[in-house]
Symmetry: C2
Subunit: 231 residues, 2 copies
DNA sequence: CCATGTGAAAACTTTCACAGCG
DNA sequence: CGCTGTGAAAGTTTTCACATGG
């Protein structure tokens, strides 16, 4: 039951893959699968089998040689790595626009031990209402509420122009980490982790990959044409 | 004006940073900044100055030695790299739940040359309505509409259990790329790029970083305590 | 003199190959 | 015998150092 690991020197890529493994393990558990090999987990997640083993070995030895991994056991270990069981992560949302509302409504997050306890906005029409039972407060109340409720994670879902102000207030309130959905890079104290997700950037990246894929297809076609021509 | 580049062998990390540079350049253009150095762009984006120069050098030589980069000129070049100007990217959304609606309502995407032209759902109450002027069709009509409108990008915003079906239908309709917001890995033909964004995974990652940051802080504090004790 | 652009070194990540164990 | 766990090799990315040119 020892899950001893120095939390340092673990690459972002490893953490991303660990999160993906966890999602797959949950799915497999629901399916009733009890044992799986690194190869199977690899093919489900798009990684290589060696990479799966390497990633897991950073945190401990969870498998049985000759057999593989116990799905439930490994899932429990990976959940522990992500802090599940240690605590219920209380979250708040700053910005109750369509994205903020969507984030609250998508209950995805509850499944992993996260829980929204408050939302904040500057719009007087929204203040005092509730979104899925979560009360919407004025931004002025943020510090008080975050401190009182001991909110751990602040989710920024405001326009880019207000993002930095939101981050500053959250930090002053003693937030422990920030998830930023505004298309604006955020700088706070080194001690507060900030993770930014820029949805429009994903569209840009995809359009690049599309162009590249289509360019490759054209190149291949050209090669086939040349080959058949020289026959 | 030459923007010649082999679109191959460019790392995902470089593309992500390029998208971030583009966001900053747009911001700087609005601010009225006309010239900037690699160092300034680096500090705005969190990369290093060398990395900025290395990234840009993959695509061409856009700067003036001793001076820096012309904001508008560089922005135009980077936009071209992402396919801006080449075409208006037509998008469709599969799944008009809160996330799908939020994606349509957040106009962020229009700014970069993307445009929603259709949405699809299986809910009879939604079919025939409009979300921000975008018509909602039945999923059965997807192939016809995507082909007719020559939709380039399909955005999946359905629950995990329906994601693969959605992807399959999109591919059959001749979509050129997929942006997947469902917490489910998607496998399609090698030729169709798929980019997945799993929001709940971001929460998990953040909780890991919070634990690590707090562990570090405790370790540092312990060292200070030890040091002062041995005095 | 300044900041870019770029080979080369350092650091890091992934893959390989196989020892070790159920 | 099969699959994990792991050092070492191969490959990739980042940083360094400096030549180059406005």
């Amino acid at each position: 039951m020892e899950t001893k690991y120095g939390l340092e020197d673990i690459s972002q890529a490893t953490i991303s893959r660990m999160a993906t493994y966890l999602r797959c393990l949950t799915y497999l558990e629901q399916q009733g699968t009890s044992i799986l090999s690194s190869r199977e987990l690899a093919s489900l997640t798009g990684a290589s089998a060696e990479q799966v083993r390497q990633d897991l070995s950073v945190f401990g030895r969870f498998g049985k040689r000759g057999t593989g991994y116990d799905v439930v056991g490994l899932k429990t270990e990976v959940e522990a790595i992500f802090g599940r069981g240690v605590e219920q992560w209380k979250c708040c949302i700053v910005g109750v626009g369509s994205l903020g509302t969507a984030l609250i409504e998508s209950r995805m997050v509850q499944k992993w031990g996260f829980k929204y306890v408050a939302a904040f906005d500057t719009d007087p029409h929204k203040i005092g209402t509730r979104v899925e039972r979560i009360p919407v407060y004025s931004l002025d109340e943020l510090k008080t509420v975050v401190r009182r409720e001991r909110v751990a994670i602040g989710v920024i879902a405001v326009p880019a122009s207000s993002a930095r102000t939101a981050a500053r207030i959250l930090c002053e309130a003693g937030i422990r980490g920030i998830l930023n959905f505004a298309p604006q890079s955020i700088k706070v104290s080194e001690k507060i982790p900030v993770l930014s997700v820029d949805l429009s950037q994903e569209f840009l990246k995809l359009s690049f990959y599309i162009q590249r894929a289509e360019q490759r297809a054209r190149d291949e076609q050209a090669q086939i044409d040349t080959a058949s021509h020289s026959e």
